[in-house]
């Protein structure tokens, strides 16, 4: 199946990396999260409820909505923190990218291992700038907030297009056992397919 790929590009200050990444990753995951499935007898199931939480950024004039899950937030923050550390230590000119990949695990017969087939990849390219004074930082704070708003709109836009791959992985009563195992344990949510965050090249 074809993998849909979306690329987002942001230019931020060093201290804004965390919040900018979190805003975009959480927005994406919000759209790809559903309640947990509870299978009952007689072939019926129920789906849990997904809560949401507003998060204010400290270094950016921006507020984003995320799934109300502390565990998910921890996982995302850990990945972003690793990305930021890699960005700082790589010695690159402040450029790097991080990807959020949704894939499907296809169980294979022995001796073959399970096959991971990505069906959607979101790549966020980061360009880090250094600012000279507080005035520039203040302007950057507002500008980045505006830009993140545009990126959120860019994230929302593909949701209009019904992707066949996504549709196959949405809850469908005809394929109750089709969904892949979780990438990480969640109490109330699950995510369409499995999710992987990969730190790609720091260039």
């Amino acid at each position: 199946m074809n993998c849909r790929s979306e690329v987002l590009e942001v230019t931020v200050e060093a201290r804004q990396i965390d919040e900018a990444m979190l805003a975009l990753l959480h927005t994406i995951l919000l759209h790809r999260s559903t309640g947990k499935f509870h299978y009952k007898k007689e072939g019926t199931y129920s789906i849990g409820t997904v809560g949401t939480a507003d998060s204010d950024c400290d270094f950016i004039d921006f507020t984003f909505v995320r799934v109300s899950s502390e565990e998910l937030d921890r996982v995302i923050r850990k990945a972003v923190c690793e990305f930021k550390d890699g960005l700082n230590n790589s010695g690159s000119d402040g450029m790097g990218q991080i990807s959020l990949e949704f894939y499907q695990k296809k169980k294979s017969r022995w001796p073959f291992s399970d096959e991971c087939i990505p069906w959607e990849v979101w790549t966020i390219k980061v360009n880090v700038v250094n600012l000279a004074n507080e005035q520039e930082r203040q302007i950057c704070r507002e500008k980045v907030g505006e830009k993140l708003g545009e990126k959120v709109i860019n994230v929302v836009e593909p949701q209009r297009r019904p992707a066949v791959s996504v549709q196959n992985h949405l809850p469908d009563h005809r394929f109750p056992g089709h969904f892949c195992e979780h990438h990480y344990e969640e109490t109330d949510q699950r995510h369409a397919g499995a999710v992987r965050i990969r730190n790609l090249s720091l260039y």
């Binding site: 919000l30 507003d54 909505v65 109300s68």
Partner: protein
């Protein structure tokens, strides 16, 4: 098209659209309440958790939404709109954005109603949550308070965007195809707040010390105009609904809502026009506010509380004494006017109770100069009257006790005239120049002179206070002020006079031929000199 749908699917679809419309209104209004929204995830869905999302229902909002729907559903040609507007404490209102839930005729007959449409509507609601935090009205709503509130209005029918002004932007939240049509959710938001600022400044000039919360009743009273809509405010609902609201709040166990009871002392804000374009800041020049792009500036209060220069005695119209300064402060207190941080420095110094400081000969002391000039022209011959009429002026950098006001310590023009009638106990030579006999005072001569022989036009100003800073010099018997007065009107240089200059030019011309003859006679010497240099 409807015949292709089973009755159950048709019933489900109608129900989905109805509750989607209700949830859409809830999401929009809750995003404009001014607080952060937080709901818990749950593994056990309840009856109100439509679309697998924890969206609490505010009863008043549900009531308004149902009243607007009036049993109908959003359909083709029947759009449901949620209008968000802003209303200031002065009564000005302005539409900020309009959210439209529409349906067109494009059908997707192959789509499954129960799950695909339902799930896509769920995704669309998530998109709505994200977009409602992105539009400019969100930042405004987070800062609403006593100065302005955010209102919402739900109406059915044709979309009205004329109230958004020119240049409004639109953003499409999402679309969901159904067997009976395509559901479209979009938002049109205002980008131009200029007219709001101009209306603000059409009012009377700001008065001093206006209390920010001088409105007894909050702008959002119980008598809300139906046209403007309902406030997006937890404080707005009636007491009867207090229980319901309490229920809503109880369910939000982890909600980190913060109800701002201390509103910011700011009026209507300007804001970045849109997140989707890199535009210049809104026309804030008319507001005369410093604003960084994108920021919501809230400094209109500076105009509201800015002082009228005439209102403050510290503007140096007179020279108030310490007693006067205290009276001003007292009056301020009686008037209930609080000290606003943006008071000018004049007020600060005024409150200290000290008379204003004037640098000698400072240009700011125009009043003093004009007065002195006036008095000078009246009668310089009666220094005693001068003393009585003049108030004390303390020169800059002068370390003298301010409380003692004696004749000897007064800095006066024509002190030479007044010296014979004054107390001579003052030992400060700066006050009374010892070597300036009255009759020979250059100041007098300059003031009453008809113009010296070589003098030019009359002086533009007169140095009234002859105590210039750092002017005392123990080495010379003459101080700077005396020196200045003596040489204030020097005679004109002879070389600058027209008569002499013309005479010298004529002499030069006459002597020119002789000089040329001499040079031609000695031309050989000059050539040898040039060859030597080469």
């Amino acid at each position: 098209m409807d015949s292709d749908l089973s009755p159950q699917d048709k019933k489900d679809l109608d129900k989905f659209i109805k509750f989607f419309a209700l949830k859409t209104v809830q999401v929009i209004v809750q995003a404009r309440l001014g607080e952060k929204i937080c709901t818990r995830s749950s593994s056990s869905p309840t009856g109100s958790d439509w679309f697998n999302l924890a969206i609490k229902d505010i009863p008043e909002v549900s009531h308004e939404a149902k009243k607007a729907l009036a049993g109908q559903l959003p359909g083709i040609g029947r759009s449901m709109c949620v209008e968000i507007s802003l209303k200031t404490s002065e009564g000005d209102s302005m539409e900020l954005e309009t959210w439209c839930l529409e349906m067109n005729e494009k059908c997707d007959k192959d789509i499954k109603v129960s799950y695909t449409v339902y799930n896509r509507l769920s995704v669309l609601l998530k998109s709505l949550m994200a977009i409602t935090r992105v539009t400019p009205a969100y930042k405004l709503s987070r800062k609403q308070g006593h100065d302005y509130v955010i209102l919402y209005r739900i109406y059915f029918g044709e979309v009205q965007l004329s109230g958004l002004g020119e240049g409004f932007q639109t953003v499409r939240v999402g679309v969901v195809g159904t067997p009976v049509g395509t559901v479209t959710l979009s938002c049109a938001y205002r980008t131009n707040l200029a007219f709001m600022s101009s209306r603000q400044f059409d009012r009377s000039a700001p008065i001093l010390g206006i209390i920010v919360d001088h409105f007894v009743d909050p702008p959002c009273s119980s008598q809300r105009p139906a046209v403007l809509g309902q406030p997006c405010n937890y404080r707005a609902p009636d007491e009867e609904d207090g229980g319901a609201f309490a229920g809503v709040q109880d369910s939000q166990e982890v909600c980190t809502t913060s109800f701002s009871t201390s509103p910011p002392s700011q009026c209507v804000c300007t804001l970045s026009p849109s997140p989707s374009k890199m535009s210049k800041p809104l026309p804030l020049d008319s507001l005369q506010l410093p604003l960084a792009p994108g920021l919501v500036a809230h400094n209109m209060c500076s105009s509201r509380v800015s002082y009228q220069p005439g209102a403050l005695p510290g503007a140096a119209e007179v020279h108030p004494t310490a007693a006067n300064a205290a009276q001003v402060l007292h009056a301020g207190k009686e008037g209930g006017v609080g000290v606003v941080p943006c008071q000018p420095h004049g007020a600060e110094t005024h409150l200290t109770g000290e008379p204003p400081l004037n640098t000698p000969g400072s240009s700011g002391d125009d009043e003093g100069l004009s007065r002195s000039a006036e008095e000078r022209s009246v009668s310089p011959s009666d220094p005693v009257e001068y003393l009585n009429a003049f108030t004390r002026k303390v020169g800059a950098f002068v370390n003298k006790p301010s409380t003692q006001i004696t004749a000897a310590n007064l800095d006066l023009p024509f002190a030479a005239f007044a010296a014979r009638g004054l107390d001579t106990e003052g030992s400060d030579p700066m006050v009374q120049p010892p070597e300036s006999p009255p009759s020979q005072s250059p100041l007098q001569a300059s003031l009453h002179s008809q113009g010296s022989e070589g003098s030019g036009p009359q002086d533009d100003f007169v140095m009234v206070d002859f105590r210039p800073a750092f002017s005392k010099d123990d080495l010379l018997p003459m101080d700077l002020g005396t020196f200045y007065r003596e040489f204030q009107n020097p005679p004109q240089l002879t070389s600058l006079s027209l008569h002499i200059s013309s005479q010298s030019m004529a002499d030069d011309l006459d002597s020119l031929p002789e000089k040329l003859r001499v040079y031609e006679k000695n031309i050989d010497e000059f050539d040898a000199f040039v060859d030597m240099l080469q």
